[in-house]
């Protein structure tokens, strides 16, 4: 038999699509083992999760409701990742958007619906974009690692949220859930029928299409792709890398900010403690699994939305909702391991 050796080609790009599927399957298998160890039946647990997420109309709308912020935040971070800007601040940018949108309801309460909502939207987008800018500027001027800055800013945003929710904006009538007074109808995003599914879905889908067009068909999208492929060549083309870093963080933050606005205005109808169950972090995986492709992000956002909803539904079985974090981490691990397959080549000796 001819001998061979495996060689790594660092320039090798994407692994085949079935690797993504395999990674998900293996991750579920791994967590199934955990479940079994706690004495429960993995099959039953997964069935409940799937059922909770996809089997009923309620489940589906809940899944979509969860998918909306994941889509928007995922889209945002995917733009940054295209040029290797490791923005993990989507959580903070989301919260900044939520806070800003709420500020409109607090300080400009009398606005009619057709004014209030757009203003809230713009406020959310601007605040998120600004939060993203806070990450871009140190990077551009001082070459500070954006990963750490964006992360630290998450904690700052969370504390800011605590401050307003427990402090100046606190609803004196709210007993159990610390938060602001509920939004008026004028300040709430329209819903689809009787469900909890809100207009934010339209916003998210529009954003996806716009992002896809932006990246593939526009000049700036081309520049983005060129920078991602070879920053040095982009420099030789006269492309301003620093400008793109700022642009991408503004867009990234802005999209997360929209998600924040949509969440307070469409789902919670107020700003409250724990407004985000880690959407910003889950969005990272959503983007990664979809290989930064906008349409893929729609799919993976729905998948993970289902995971989150499923996670809640198995709490009745005595399992912690953190099962979804566990699954997310496991999927990511297997995905990373699988990415090797795009790089390995067999060399016959």
């Amino acid at each position: 038999m001819k001998s061979f050796r495996l060689e790594l080609d660092p320039s090798g790009r994407d692994s085949p699509w079935w690797v993504t599927v395999l990674a998900v399957v293996l991750a579920f298998a791994l967590v199934a083992a955990f479940i079994a160890l706690t004495g429960k039946d993995p099959g039953a647990v997964y069935a409940k999760m799937l059922g909770g997420a996809f089997a009923t109309p309620f489940g589906i709308t809940e899944t979509l409701v969860k998918a909306i912020p994941l889509m928007l935040c995922g889209l945002g971070v995917s733009l940054a990742y295209r040029i290797q800007i490791w923005n993990i601040g989507a959580e903070g940018q989301f919260i900044a958007g939520a806070i800003a949108a709420t500020a409109v309801t607090i300080y400009l309460p009398g606005l009619p619906g057709w004014v209030a909502l757009p203003v809230m939207l713009v406020a959310g987008m601007a605040a998120g974009g600004l939060w993203g800018l806070f990450t871009a500027l140190p990077k551009v001027f001082f070459n500070v690692n954006e990963l750490i800055i964006s992360l630290m800013l998450n904690y700052v945003a969370l504390l800011g949220l605590d401050f307003v929710v427990f402090g100046p904006w606190r609803d004196p009538k709210g007993m159990n859930f610390p938060g602001t007074p509920p939004f008026t109808d004028a300040q709430t995003l329209p819903l689809f029928g009787d469900s909890r599914l809100h207009f934010g879905l339209i916003l998210a889908l529009v954003a996806v299409v716009l992002a896809a067009v932006f990246v593939q068909k526009t000049r700036w999208g081309y520049e983005l792709r060129l920078i991602g492929a070879n920053p040095e060549a982009a420099r030789h083309a006269g492309i301003n890398l620093k400008g793109h870093i700022v642009l991408v963080m503004l867009l990234s933050g802005g999209l997360a900010g929209i998600a924040g606005m949509a969440e307070v205005s469409g789902v919670a109808h107020r700003l409250m403690y724990g407004i985000s169950p880690g959407y910003g972090y889950t969005a990272i995986i959503v983007a990664w699994i979809a290989r930064l492709n906008p349409f893929g992000i729609v799919v993976s956002a729905v998948l993970f939305g289902g995971l989150i909803v499923g996670g809640y539904s198995v709490q009745t079985l005595g399992l912690p909702s953190s099962i979804s974090s566990l699954l997310q981490g496991a999927v990511l691990f297997f995905l990373i391991a699988g990415s090797i397959l795009g790089k390995v080549r067999v060399r016959w000796n």
Partner: protein, 504 residues
């Protein structure tokens, strides 16, 4: 010189996938001689030496050292057997000191006081001086000059007890003066009984210093000659094989209008010093101006300034009667300057993107390629296909990632893009580096065609032969200044070499 062989390679074969880098190479080196392994870029000389030094494993064949078969499976084995190699890109850890680099790999002693290090450093400096290779051993490597780093590499091999010292293209980073110093060192090594093997493509040096010369071409060993028994022409013929196609005869040049005038240019380099220090140059329409000089004398910075990538501290640049106010890539592109950078995959092309995206790099802002911010996708595709055909770029298909193409085709794509710009001035930096003879001739023809059409070329190259072949005028750059300038008719290698070394 001893008649006994220190190194003998029998039938050595090395295959990388489909590529046969070495085709049954036989090679003998006598003890205590300086043996030059000569061949063009890509002839396979480095590969052979890598097998001798343990970096690669032979696909087939035997290696004998001092008459005994040797199993060299790793660099460590080679070192144990007394083979030391100095690579073209140095294997040095730049943040450690020179002395630390030398003792790297020595596990004992585990515990080292500062005193131990001081003693070691002195020991190394003494060893170095013995062979005439002084350098400050206590300094961090990133602070040493290239020549000093090379000496460090040689001392490293001596320290580890090498009797057979291999140098891979050692003069590629040295000035002619430093190269002479190196040759003196090699002679001294020989006098101390070491065997020296030198791989190079520079004929002149080989004739200057080698005892025997072996010539390789296209992976095969052609012949081994005594230097005293042969001459340059014979060796050159062996190296190159049949006569290369002469590039098209050049048309007689008429004195064109002044295209570019650079005066008293002062440019700060990346290390904070002046890379160009009072540089002046004139380029006229319809000529090829060659910039000669060893890398590191300001050529890179000159190209960057013209391409708009680097700003200048003082001096004036006037292009087509427009005085430039500042560096801007877009402005340079729009003014009609195209740029073929030195390292095509690093600076010129985006490997993971396809041909269309790579061709768009300079022109995507123009109305022909984009409208109101949107790229004209269908039109661009057709346009790309046209260019690829016109320049005979071989690629699997138009969307295939560019890194899958061969070097020659990548360069063609790059030229296609830059020439399509209809530049008034093309700045080409080492345009034929890493290309085989056929591809090189192709590039030369492209440059000559540009010139014949009345455009100008600024050719920056380390290859004096190439410069002599193509340039209408040659300007020699040394230390950021013009050392001398000659027209094609009056150019001679000796003077150019001296100027390149900084000798007036």
């Amino acid at each position: 010189m001893d008649e006994t062989l220190s190194v003998e390679l029998r039938g050595l074969v090395k295959q990388f996938g489909p590529v046969l880098a070495n085709d049954h190479v036989d090679f003998q080196v006598r003890k205590g001689e300086i043996h030059a392994l000569l061949g063009e870029n890509g002839a396979g000389k480095s590969t052979v030496m890598c097998m001798l030094s343990g970096v690669y494993r032979p696909t087939a064949g035997e290696i004998l050292l001092h008459g005994k078969p040797a199993k060299i499976h790793s660099p460590k084995d080679a070192v144990k057997l007394g083979v030391g190699m100095v690579f073209q890109n140095f294997r040095l850890v730049s943040t450690l000191t020179a002395a630390e680099n030398i003792v790297l790999g020595e596990a004992r002693p585990v515990w080292r006081t500062r005193g131990w290090m001081v003693r070691k450093t002195a020991e190394i400096e003494a060893l170095a001086l013995r062979f005439g290779l002084g350098f400050p051993a206590g300094r961090a490597v990133w602070q040493l000059s290239v020549g000093e780093q090379q000496r460090l590499e040689i001392v490293k091999t001596l320290y580890r007890g090498a009797d057979i010292i291999i140098l891979d293209e050692p003069t590629s980073v040295l000035t002619p003066g430093e190269a002479d110093q190196l040759f003196a060192t090699l002679v001294q090594l020989k006098n101390e009984g070491k065997t020296v093997i030198l791989t190079t493509h520079k004929l002149k040096e080989v004739m200057a210093v080698a005892d025997r010369i072996s010539v390789m071409r296209k992976g095969k060993m052609l012949a081994t000659l005594d230097r005293s028994a042969t001459d340059e022409r014979e060796v050159a013929r062996l190296m190159v094989g049949q006569d290369r196609q002469e590039p098209k005869a050049r048309k007689t040049r008429k004195n064109g209008a002044v295209l570019l005038e650079v005066n008293d240019l002062v440019v700060t380099g990346d290390h904070g010093r002046h890379a160009l220090d009072g540089f002046h140059m004139t380029v006229r329409e319809g000529e090829i101006v060659g910039i000669a000089g060893v890398a590191g004398n300001g050529q890179k910075e000159l190209a960057e300034v013209l391409a708009g990538l680097r700003t200048w501290k003082a001096g004036t640049i006037v292009f087509r009667e427009n005085a430039w106010k500042g560096a801007s890539v877009r402005h340079s592109i729009e003014a009609g300057i195209s740029h073929v950078p030195e390292n095509r995959m690093k600076s010129g092309l985006a490997g993971s993107l396809g041909s269309i995206d790579n061709l768009l790099v300079k022109s995507y802002r123009t109305p022909a390629r984009s409208k109101l911010g949107f790229l004209r996708t269908a039109r661009n595709r057709l346009w790309s296909q046209g260019l690829v055909e016109q320049f005979e770029v071989k690629t699997a298909h138009i969307d295939a990632p560019v890194h899958q193409m061969s070097g020659g085709n990548q360069q063609k794509l790059l030229f296609a893009r830059e020439i399509h710009q209809r530049p008034h001035l093309m700045v080409a930096v080492h345009p034929t580096q890493g290309l085989d003879v056929g591809a090189t001739d192709g590039v030369h023809n492209l440059l000559i065609n540009l010139r014949d059409e009345g455009k100008s070329v600024l050719l920056i190259s380390e290859d004096l032969d190439e410069l002599l072949l193509l340039s209408d005028r040659i300007v020699v750059l040394f230390g950021g200044r013009v050392m001398g300038e000659v027209t094609h008719e009056k150019a001679d290698r000796e003077h150019l070499g001296m100027w390149m070394a900084g000798v007036v």
